[in-house]
């Protein structure tokens, strides 16, 4: 009886169709990564012969699992287009190769990009924290961390065609759009009333800041979303939350305590004063700490939305990943942070 092809065999067949001159194409070092909450991630090398030459290349495939952490907010096609648009810019990103909508190939949409050489130490782990602390002492990685962020914020996003992701209007529109986006995820996910979250949302709406300048914003710029090679940022990854918006939104994320549990360094890698000075020098922007504080509180609401969505998916039986179940206990913890930030 014929057995159905494995995922690895299906991917090999797909690559063969995209590289028709390839002969004897084979995959090796095939890993279904445990990272990635929203998408299935496969990392592998492909080897083949082409015109008498032996070829070897690393690939990374991101696949829509059917129902992702961000639910309807997740858009794989948009991610692919963003990475593609960033290719000719100074921002370090992987090369994007192919996007496929057809679910008959792997069971859902996916895209294939370059496997960038380097490592992504987990900043929440002891070993990861140590890695970043050691790199911080050497000094090269903190500089690269700030430079990569500045490369995004200095981008002429219209010229590079990134306005397709949506451009907010003047004034408070960016902040209010962000709140509305995450509130929609909360509405889809929430399983019991959360009065602390209600208070938080209403406070955020009542205190939304005006955006002074629009920039291309990553939305989750931190260690853990950066591939590092030789103490340099080789690529910025995890393109799911990017927006055209207030650059202080990214700055606030870097400044946030959410990303440096127990580390005195921002994002576990950069001294606060150095970050503030060097970022302002590279971008010509003035960091508004009050606005950043507001966005930090907005991130607490966003984290709550993530955790409600994640635990909701598990409770609804739509995703069996146990990491999602664990997040139900993160909801009160992050709401506690928000309550303290609001003074109660």
């Amino acid at each position: 009886m014929a057995t159905s092809p494995t995922v690895q065999e299906k991917i090999a067949g797909y690559l063969q169709s995209k590289i028709p001159r390839a002969r004897n194409l084979a995959l090796s070092d095939f890993v279904h990564s445990a990272g990635g909450w929203s998408h299935e991630i496969y990392v592998f090398f492909a080897t083949w012969n082409e015109d008498g030459r032996a070829m070897r290349q690393g690939f990374c495939l991101r696949k829509d699992p059917g129902i992702s952490l961000l639910r309807e907010l997740s858009n794989l096609r948009e991610q692919f287009r963003v990475i593609k648009a960033l290719e000719p810019t100074p921002a370090p990103t992987p090369k994007a190769y192919w996007y496929e909508e057809d679910p008959s190939l792997l069971g859902g949409p996916f895209f294939v990009m370059e496997k960038v050489e380097g490592e992504v130490p987990n900043p929440w782990s002891r070993a990861g924290k140590q890695f970043y602390a050691d790199a911080a002492k050497r000094g090269k990685l903190p500089r690269s961390f700030v430079e990569a962020l500045a490369s995004l914020h200095n981008l002429d996003w219209r010229t590079h065609g990134l306005d397709f992701i949506g451009v907010p209007g003047d004034g408070k529109d960016f902040a209010l759009r962000e709140i509305a986006k995450w509130e929609s995820l909360i509405d889809q996910s929430i399983r019991k009333p959360e009065p602390v979250l209600t208070e938080l949302l209403l406070w955020l709406k009542a205190n939304a800041p005006e955006t002074r300048r629009l920039a291309f914003v990553h939305g989750a710029y931190r260690t853990g979303n950066l591939i590092i090679k030789d103490d340099q940022i080789a690529a910025i990854i995890d393109w799911e939350l990017q927006v055209i918006g207030d650059p202080m939104y990214d700055v606030a994320y870097v400044l946030s305590n959410l990303n440096r549990e127990g580390s005195p360094l921002l994002s576990c890698v950069v001294e606060r004063e150095f970050f503030l000075d060097y970022y302002q020098q590279l971008t010509g922007l003035t960091i508004d700490l009050e606005v950043c504080r507001y966005y930090e509180i907005l991130y607490m609401m966003r984290s709550t939305a993530f955790w409600l969505s994640a635990s909701g998916l598990f409770a609804e039986g739509r995703n069996k990943d146990l990491r999602l179940a664990r997040t139900t206990y993160s909801v009160p913890v992050v709401l506690d942070m928000a309550a303290k930030a609001l003074g109660f």
């Binding site: 602390v196 209600t198 208070e199 179940a325 993160s330 009160p332 913890v333």
Partner: protein
């Protein structure tokens, strides 16, 4: 019968010391360790859930009593909604009526609501509060 907490503790130990280290694939290995973390939370949840609801109820009762004495706010207070849905509505009404109430009254009512929210949060944190190394 082995008490539930002891049983859960044994399962956690088994996952951490036997099952997870034997798994070589990164994804199922991470799943096994995460199961151990979740079971530790569940053990605390089983133990503490009943008193939490009582404390929450008492906090909300006190809030409604206090707010009903605040001029202008009392008409927003409904005794038949002594739960988190009712509290949500109350918060929304307070913000919606902020202009009518005036900043001083709004601030006083909001401060009092936040005291209760803190109490509710503290109850939830009995289960979810950090206890990881």
């Amino acid at each position: 019968m082995i008490p539930a907490n002891q049983l859960l503790s044994e399962i956690v130990t088994s996952i951490r010391e036997v099952i997870a280290p034997a798994i070589s694939e990164p994804y199922p290995k991470a799943q096994a360790y995460m199961a151990a973390v979740i079971l530790e939370f569940v053990a605390r949840q089983v133990e503490e859930r009943s008193d939490i609801e009582e404390q929450k109820h008492a906090a909300m009762l006190e809030l409604l009593r206090d707010l009903s004495q605040l001029p202008g706010v009392n008409r927003l207070v409904r005794g038949d909604e002594l739960n988190e849905i009712g509290l949500n509505k109350l918060i929304e009404h307070l913000y919606a009526e902020r202009g009518r109430l005036g900043e001083e009254t709004f601030a006083a009512a909001n401060r009092r609501v936040r005291q209760t929210l803190r109490k509710l949060l503290d109850q939830e944190l009995k289960v979810a509060g950090k206890n990881e190394d």
